[in-house]
């Protein structure tokens, strides 16, 4: 409100993606296109055992038969899957014991992202497994984790070193045929993270992965598998930034979580991929399948702060298979300019006395469209299932949209389902009130948005919460006119 049209325009122009640079590291990139040979070549490149190659080929066969889904409330030009290169890895492949051995240019990139490894190590006690263009180049704190029997490595390494675990669990929560993108990912996934927490072990630190897409025109297909054995606990952080590019970049990740009896997994994401420029050009397509399986008394908690990507299609879900298991979903989704997000969750109650909580906060600005889509399903045998859902939308300006699509399917009479939804708009009166106290409009919006998102921000681990708050501010700069 304190802005003229002209000033607003200027603001928006200066708000170009701040991580919009890219690092010139020699890459080993496959030719564009996808066929069986490429799938075999990826597998070979990664020195995988035969069972993995076959699994990929089977996935590819399934994928070929599938069509891209169209039910989401998003509009975009479908990617040409034959125009994408399916493998790109930094050239200097060896693993590093210390940071000194790492390509200095790569380290510089991390510095620009504000994630100096040293700082991370010292400050947060976080072991960072950095995925740069699909291949893990540095894994830290591995030794400390190893003492507790915790395995935290790249999925490629896990396939070689721990084939029994990977073989048993990969595709067990998100089957190859689950959906179009999951099938594609299963065929061509390049790398990702693997984590195993042994029985009764409480992981002593937050496990963190920074993802980054860095090669023009290469899609990134991450595969993450987290297994928490009986009675164990782990908190896993995933954060991402990507360089700005003209052409669309496809990202189709699959994340599978397995929480065995009495285990707990907390999975937090801050996503800040390039959302496209102010005219809606470019930006990442983010088509992700995330799902967790809870056995008896287990708990899975998803927390996400989604501020980036041009198009987001993402529904972190929980299969509450075991009795007394708990699923939680806390989400903040921010869209600005021409961004489109269709995100939410699925809570599938199979066991008795299962509980789920959904708190979704959608913030739309500019000409963006923000949809919450959620399913709460109670199976006929799931006695005494309980769900509480709350979906709040905050609108800025008159050109954006907020949509809520809640689906509830209950087949057991003892279920208790609650759904609350609100939609509000940042008012001129709220902003003037803040202005009068000496708080300018940008800061006022940040304050109001942070207040609106508080319930979810509070669920994030401390070091992530600060980052997330900043991200909200950056994402909404200049969004009220």
């Amino acid at each position: 409100m304190a802005y003229t049209e002209e000033e607003l325009k200027k603001e928006l122009e200066t708000k170009e993606y701040e991580y919009g640079f890219y690092t010139d590291i020699e890459s080993d990139t496959f030719p564009n296109g996808l066929n069986e040979e490429i799938v075999i070549a990826i597998s070979k490149k990664k020195e995988e055992p035969e069972w993995m190659t076959l699994w990929r080929l089977e996935s590819f066969k399934i994928w070929k038969e599938m069509v891209e889904p169209e039910w989401a409330n998003v509009k975009y030009k479908k990617p040409d899957f034959q125009a994408i290169s399916y493998y790109s890895a930094p050239n200097k492949k060896p693993k590093y014991e210390s940071l000194d051995e790492v390509d200095p240019e790569l380290l510089d990139t991390f510095k620009k992202l504000g994630i100096s490894l040293d700082e991370q190590k010292k400050l947060a006690g976080v072991a960072v497994d950095i995925v740069m263009d699909s291949v893990s180049v540095a894994t830290t704190f591995k030794k400390t984790l190893a003492e507790k029997g915790i395995i935290f490595c790249s999925i490629s390494e896990a396939i070689k070193e721990h084939p029994e675990l990977v073989k048993k669990y990969i595709g067990s929560v998100v089957p190859q045929k689950d959906n179009f993108y999951a099938a594609l990912n299963s065929a061509v996934f390049s790398d990702g993270s693997f984590c195993y927490i042994p029985k009764g072990v409480r992981c002593p630190m937050e496990l963190s992965t920074y993802f980054r897409i860095n090669q023009a025109g290469t899609g990134q297909f991450e595969r993450t598998l987290v297994i928490a054995d009986e009675g164990s606990y782990v908190s896993y952080l995933e954060g991402c930034t990507a360089p700005s590019r003209d052409e669309n970049q496809l990202h189709a990740a699959v994340v599978e979580l397995i929480a065995l009896d009495d285990a707990e997994i907390k999975y937090s994401t801050v996503q800040n991929w390039f959302p496209g420029n102010k005219d809606g050009q470019g930006g990442v397509f983010n088509f992700v399948t995330k799902r967790g399986l809870c056995e008896k008394n287990a708990k899975i908690s998803w927390t996400q702060v989604e501020t980036g990507s041009a198009v987001t299609w993402k529904y972190p879900s929980c299969i509450l298979k075991g009795d007394n298991s708990i699923g939680e979903f806390y989400s903040i989704a921010v869209t600005n300019n021409f961004q489109q997000a269709d995100t939410g969750t699925k809570m599938v109650h199979l066991g008795k006395n299962t509980k789920s909580t959904i708190i979704s906060k959608g913030i739309s600005a500019g000409k963006s469209q923000n949809s919450y889509r959620g399913l709460v399903q109670v199976n006929s045998r799931a006695d005494n299932a309980r769900n509480f859902s709350q979906c709040d939308s905050l609108l800025m300006g008159n050109e954006c949209g907020a949509h809520t699509f809640p689906y509830i399917e209950v087949k057991n009479k003892s279920a208790q389902i609650e759904h609350e939804a609100t939609t509000s708009k940042i008012g001129e009166d709220q902003i003037f009130y803040c202005n009068q106290r000496g708080i300018d409009t940008e800061k006022a919006i940040a304050l109001i948005v942070n207040g609106f998102s508080k319930e979810v921000l509070n669920k994030l681990p401390m070091e992530f919460a600060v980052e997330a708050q900043k991200l909200l501010e950056i994402s909404l700069e200049g969004s009220v006119g």
């Binding site: 409100m1 304190a2 008012g427 001129e428 009166d429 709220q430 003037f432 009130y433 803040c434 202005n435 009068q436 106290r437 000496g438 708080i439 300018d440 409009t441 800061k443 304050l447 109001i448 942070n450 207040g451 609106f452 998102s453 508080k454 319930e455």
Partner: protein, 250 residues
């Protein structure tokens, strides 16, 4: 402190202030009274810089500086404080967090570092005691679910925290029971000094029994039609506004 010359202001082409002249010196308390729709709240909002109102003529000076083209936040940084008649709710933002942000933004505008947490805490303790505010109250979301009295007390608490040069209290007495009124008025009196000034906008003279004004002005139809000392308020109470309306018919 404040000097207003021939101020005209309108909203959506409807003129509401039709030539206000007012001078307020440091150390003074001025009361502005008047019937509904006379322009009292508009005057307060225009001094605070609300952009919904267009100043079509005249000027507002604060300590000799013309406030034209000064944003509401800059006016706040220069020491203008408005206690709102209807304070807004900001869900999820605690009173403490809001105050911390406001104070640090003002400091930033003056080129100062953030206030150290220790000092902030001390200030909060001091001011909440002054206004008999329960500390628990400060952790609640700003104005959300507050009673009318709590909202007004919170406004005065913010005034105490921000230590303005010029405080404008817009109908601070409305919605207050007698105990709350006394607490709020006591707070204002304690904050009064020879270096700051207060403008009390009110309908009734009730509040003026507690905050005694040096001058009383009557606003009617966008103009100050009568000024006097505190006795004018009593006279108004006795005779009602109709008396003035008749007297000032043009």
């Amino acid at each position: 402190m404040l000097k207003i010359n021939n101020l005209h202001a309108s909203v959506e082409d409807k003129e509401i202030l039709k030539g206000i002249n007012l001078t307020v010196n440091a150390g003074e308390v001025h009361a502005i009274m008047g019937p509904n729709g006379s322009g009292k709240s508009t005057l307060a909002a225009v001094i605070a810089g609300k952009e919904e109102f267009e100043v079509t003529e005249g000027e507002v000076f604060l300590e000799g500086e013309n406030l034209e083209d000064t944003s509401p936040e800059d006016r706040a940084h220069k020491g203008v404080f408005l206690s709102f008649q209807y304070p807004v709710e900001i869900p999820g933002v605690s009173v403490t967090n809001f105050m911390k942000t406001a104070i640090n933004e003002s400091r930033k505008a003056k080129g100062l570092e953030d206030m150290p947490a220790k000092d902030m805490l001390k200030l909060i303790r001091e001011k909440s005691e002054l206004l008999e505010i329960d500390r628990k109250f400060l952790s609640r979301s700003l104005n959300e679910g507050f009673s009318g009295g709590e909202k007004k007390r919170n406004e005065i608490f913010q005034m105490a925290m921000l230590e303005p040069k010029l405080a404008i209290l817009d109908e601070t007495d409305s919605g207050l029971d007698i105990d709350a009124l006394r607490i709020v008025a006591n707070g204002v009196n304690k904050l009064k000094s020879k270096d700051n000034a207060v403008i009390v906008i009110t309908h009734y003279q009730r509040l003026l029994e507690y905050i005694v004004p040096d001058f009383v002005h009557v606003l009617h139809n966008g103009k100050i039609v009568k000024s006097g000392n505190k006795d004018l308020a009593l006279e108004l109470e006795e005779k009602g506004y109709d008396w003035l309306k008749q007297e000032t018919v043009i």
